[in-house]
Point group: C2
Chain length 116, copies 2
Amino acid sequence: MDLRPSAALKLWHDVMLAHVHGDDTDLSARQMVILLTIYLEAPPHTVRGLAKKLDVTKPVITRALDTMGARDLVQRRRDEDDRRNVVIQRTVKGALWIEKLADSIVERARNVARRS
Amino acid sequence: MDLRPSAALKLWHDVMLAHVHGDDTDLSARQMVILLTIYLEAPPHTVRGLAKKLDVTKPVITRALDTMGARDLVQRRRDEDDRRNVVIQRTVKGALWIEKLADSIVERARNVARRS
DNA sequence: GCCTTTTATTTCGCTTTCGATACAATATCG
DNA sequence: CGATATTGTATCGAAAGCGAAATAAAAGGC
């Protein structure tokens, strides 16, 4: 992908602005990264695994799952093989949210000068 | 710009992850949009103007300026022509922050499949 | 010179998040 | 079984952000 710095900033600005406008309540940077990780990388996802991958403490993950779980963007499930683990799963609503974000980025990228 | 949805999401994830890792304290979505607006669009910028452009209340702008001002990312100045106005100005540190963000996006965009 | 309008900030009570630590539940090792 | 390790959550006080309304300062209308 070829992207000049000024185009990158405009893209970032436009998508962020749409994000702030759009959602009922917008997700924090951490929450967004967690959600994206869950939807982009292969399962299974655990609290510990996410904490390590994002280099944050476990309570941060727990809190984010509380918030996003309340909004039905992710789902918790006990791992029956090792009941200490909690497996984080996708939801229909979460998939839609992600899809909407992707569309938003793609659409705004189209309005950005190419190579130029 | 040509960008598939999956590439867009990966780009977003990677940049956000770097953002969360990198900064001492990361900026909220609103703060980031405000900062980008100040640095992308032509001055002068006022509290009222930013509030209208981003469709938020004025206290939101004031608070964001407090926070970012404390981190020396933006600067306030009284408008001497109309002393009710506050003009928001760029700082060296803010410019560096923006530049770093741009580089981060550009670099990660390079690692994303093109057109595919 | 008042009265009204406009601009930015302050204040209020509330909610959310933070890091750090403590804790409860489960698994593992001997 | 009993000690230890691991996993996720709960709790704590502190900090930050929110919307709504009140306030202070400055400008403009008449």
